[in-house]
Amino acid sequence: MVDTLLATESRLRATDNSLPFLAAQAAVELKMFADGKRTDRPAGVRLSHLIRNSVDLQEQTTPRSLMDPSTVSVMSQALVDSQWSSQKPKTVDELAKLVIKLANEMKSPCHTTERNGGLKPMMDFCIALARYSSAYRKAVLSPRRKHPYRK
């Protein structure tokens, strides 16, 4: 059982303590990438990986969301706010489809440059994700537990 659980891949989690910082890092990397000041984007790749793992594509004709309700809420708000996509998802399945697209484009942002009018929408998504995930964790936990790593 231990080995099976250890093998579980990391997923995007709205309550993940490190998510807001990671999303902010990914946004700065995109800006530096767009300005030609850097070519590597470790935070963006990591974030893309987490987002990708939040959807199950195996043996499914349509992607199945593995996101918990709080992550569904934070992701949909971040997507709508950032206007990364013109489509506003209403169902979890629609969100899952968008999330797959988002993860792919975040992994290889050069493909999105012309189609989406630059990297700004992706950057805006990262900013919105940082803000919403940070706010969610603070809103839902009791005052004594505000320190994110304290148990």
Partner: protein, 423 residues
């Protein structure tokens, strides 16, 4: 530009503080290594701010600049308390004797390179900082300062190490899925819950495939988050109980009974926590102290901090119900991990041998495990006749002397374990 400049200066000044802390004398090398890890995280934050500074004058990116600055402030909020913890780990108030045996337990339970820091904290609740970005090999274990040299409370470390194990095993992912399904089924099966949810969140009644709807499915997110947190706390209680046996029950009661009226949503209410512990104690054939449950409040009040109390009551009810469906699974999981990690459980005959030595006011050799010493210690502590035939130990100092004796016994265990490790 002020925001970014202030942010850079703030982080730089915290880094200067780290530099000055490095000059302190540390009783064990882990404190020094923890400082170096925090320094790396702060350097990384400073690098992010420096990158951000290069475009901070571009109006189109003002929001990005603010977000990065806000996150850098959050980094300071999160890591400055850790610096204080590291500094306090040097305080002579701490029982340094326990560091070796508890470290070895943590390494066996988690992984061989686990580093433990123990400190006395100004918060009357044992705490652990775990799963800290940039410090993943560290477990920071804090005990309330008035009790930080009290070895009788070491069993509570079993609960705190449980948090690190929970994180190591990614149990959060597993329980998020399971708890979400459980809450959804609960609502599907009980029409009154569905009606209440629709009324509270003003959701139209014509929903068909309701869980596929983003707005509808999001309504239960606090309940899911709270239930998963409660599951983690329950698992940690079971870990402490499994590793330390009856001594955990005593230390739990010493620090928590009768409980407080304030209900923290991340914990089951105190009556349920005690009920779960006693249920596990029964299953694992531990001796339950007489009248144990009566030491605690029969219930805890609801959280007063949430403004929308009807909604929070509803969410808490869903979370509590979801937890109750997972208690047996959590109990079995704790039992299984302790067995898989080959953690020795308290041994009655060894406990009895140590207890007899304590009667003679001397520490025992070959105690084998920390749990044996702590169970013998609690038996002696609860014995009103302890040392009553020793007039040179007045009754008002007996408990202090006992605590010193237990610490001495732990020191001997530490030496024995080190010797075994060298062989």
């Amino acid at each position: 530009m002020y925001t970014i400049n202030y942010s850079i200066e703030r982080v730089s000044r915290v880094l200067q503080t780290v530099d000055s802390l490095k000059e302190s004398e540390f009783p064990y090398k882990q404190s020094q290594e923890a400082l170096e890890d925090v320094e790396r995280v702060l350097q990384q934050t400073l690098e992010l701010l420096t990158d951000t500074h290069s475009f901070a004058d571009q109006d189109d990116f003002a929001e990005l600049v603010q977000t990065v600055c806000s996150e850098s402030l959050e980094t300071i909020f999160n890591y400055l308390p850790l610096l204080g913890f590291i500094l306090r780990s040097t305080n002579v108030r701490n029982a340094f004797e326990v560091h070796g045996p508890v470290s070895r337990l943590a390494q066996k339970l988690l992984c061989p390179d686990t580093k433990l820091l123990v400190s006395s904290e100004w918060d009357y609740s044992p705490l652990a900082y775990v799963d800290i970005p940039g410090m993943s090999s560290f477990v920071l274990l804090g005990l309330p300062s008035p009790e930080s040299s009290n070895p009788l409370l070491i069993p509570l470390a079993g609960h705190e190490l449980g948090h690190a194990l929970w994180s190591n095993l990614s149990l959060t992912n597993h329980y998020y899925d399971s708890v979400t399904s459980s809450i959804q089924s609960d609502i599907d099966d009980h029409n009154e819950l569905l009606e209440l949810l629709r009324a509270l969140y003003k959701i139209p009644c014509d929903q068909t495939d309701m869980w596929s709807d983003i707005i509808f499915s999001s309504t239960i997110s606090p309940a899911v988050t709270w239930a998963v947190r409660q599951a983690e706390e329950t698992f940690c209680d079971f870990m402490g109980l499994r590793i330390f046996g009856e001594a955990f029950l005593h230390s739990f009661a010493y620090l928590l009974c009768p409980g407080e009226e304030y209900r923290q949503v991340e914990y089951p209410n105190i009556a349920i926590r005690v009920k779960n512990l006693l249920s596990a104690a029964g299953k694992w054939k531990l001796s339950i102290p007489a009248g144990y449950g009566n030491q605690f409040l029969p219930h805890s009040a609801s959280p007063p901090f949430v403004e929308e109390s009807d909604k929070s009551q509803f969410q808490l009810k869903l979370a509590d119900e979801a937890l109750s469906r997972h208690v047996n699974d959590l109990m079995d999981r704790a039992d299984q991990y302790v067995a898989e990690k080959d953690i020795a459980l308290p041994n009655k005959s060894v406990v009895s041998k140590i207890r007899k030595k304590f009667d003679l006011t001397i520490p025992a050799e070959d105690s084998q495990e920390l749990g044996n010493i702590l169970n013998a210690g609690w038996m002696a502590y609860l014995d009103d006749r302890l040392w009553s035939n020793y007039p040179h130990i007045p009754s008002d100092v007996r408990k202090d002397r006992l605590r010193e004796l237990i610490l001495k016994n732990i020191e001997i265990l530490d030496l024995e374990q080190r010797r075994l490790g060298l062989q």
